[in-house]
């Protein structure tokens, strides 16, 4: 049991370091087990150092910096335990445009070996995804789907007939 956990820890930590370094364009991060002797008695910490900064407790990071660390952790787990399907719902809400775009590019790359659905309100993400679906309420309270929606109409809240265009 302990051996199993340590193997998972090593596998995910290695990937986490690499993914965070790439997502943050040069930062360093790692997972730390509180008690390596008997891991089940301790917790799991995350340490991260955004590029150009001193190492920080993750609580001291900014909202967007925390969002990027979380995404790196999620991608690391997904790489360690590959699955055919992933759904991400507004994971870019704290990210500035540059970071949101980096996450979208990584999703795009990972989508060569798995299917990704990503719900987003951000233009940088919508621009990166090759396929786009719009959801609208054609009548009050009734959801409808618009295939391959044209995102330039998004800002002006797609009116039912316009979105269909």
């Amino acid at each position: 049991k302990k051996a199993g956990l340590l193997k998972v820890f090593e596998g995910i930590n290695g990937r986490f370091k690499r993914v965070y370094n790439e997502l943050s364009d040069g930062g360093e991060a790692e997972l730390i087990l509180e008690n390596t002797e008997s891991p089940f008695e301790g917790g799991l910490h995350i340490k991260a150092r955004p590029p150009g900064k001193k190492v920080l407790r993750i609580e001291a990071l900014s909202g967007g910096e925390k969002g990027l660390v979380s995404m790196a952790f999620i991608f690391a787990i997904q790489e360690f335990m590959p699955s055919p399907f992933y759904l991400l719902d507004e994971v870019d809400q704290n990210l500035d445009s540059v970071n949101a775009e980096r996450v979208a590019k990584m999703v795009h790359r990972n989508s060569q070996s798995a299917q990704f659905l990503q719900v987003s309100l951000r233009h940088v993400t919508l621009n990166e995804a090759p396929m786009k679906i719009g959801v609208t309420m054609s009548q009050p309270g009734l959801s409808d789907i618009v295939m391959d929606v044209d995102i330039s109409t998004i800002k002006e809240r797609p009116q039912p007939k316009e979105a269909a265009a």
Partner: protein, 171 residues
């Protein structure tokens, strides 16, 4: 293996029969606040994760049935089907396509009584059959396949022990 189509009938705000075809690769879903984007994620979880605690943001299961909105009649049943392309035979059914369907129906006269049925390619099945099939594909409602709205903030906020438990589940 990939998700080829989602069909929703009277599931939450999708108050008619809606077919959503999907391709492999990367698809973005967008739309105004409250239009039904996260409800699509809930529809998938409804089929894949009947026992999952993440469930579907609803209080009770009957809350998932289309409530009629401001002007229509509330429905008394809802159904969601997920059609997977299985040409790589990841799901051991020997079929090129596998459709998982879940259907709940309110018991007439009892507002919170309902029956729940599961189908694999139209054949009536049990919840256990779903679990068994999905375990071959590493598709689980409790895994890191689904990052629901707001989960991104929880990963940092959760305690160290809770975070270690993520590794325990994977081991």
């Amino acid at each position: 293996m990939y998700l080829k189509r989602i069909v929703m009938e009277n599931f939450k705000s999708f108050g008619k029969r809606i077919e959503l075809p999907l391709l492999p690769g990367y698809t973005a879903i967008t739309g105004p606040n409250g239009s039904g984007k996260s409800n699509i994620s809930d529809a998938i979880l409804f089929v894949l994760g009947p026992k999952s605690s993440r469930a579907i943001r609803a209080g009770k299961l009957p809350d998932l049935i289309f409530n009629g909105g401001p002007s229509k009649r509330a429905a008394s049943e809802c159904k969601v089907s997920l059609l997977f392309d299985n040409s790589d035979n990841v799901l051991p059914t020997g079929e090129k396509e596998v459709e998982l369907t879940r259907h709940i129906r309110l018991t007439p006269g009892h507002a919170s009584d309902y029956s729940s049925n599961f189908f694999i390619n139209g054949r009536r099945s049990q919840l256990a059959d779903f679990d068994d099939l999905l375990s071959h594909a590493r598709l689980s409602a409790d895994g890191y396949n689904f990052i629901q709205q707001g989960d991104i903030n929880r990963i940092i906020q959760m305690g160290a022990v809770e975070r270690r438990r993520i590794l325990d589940d994977i081991a």
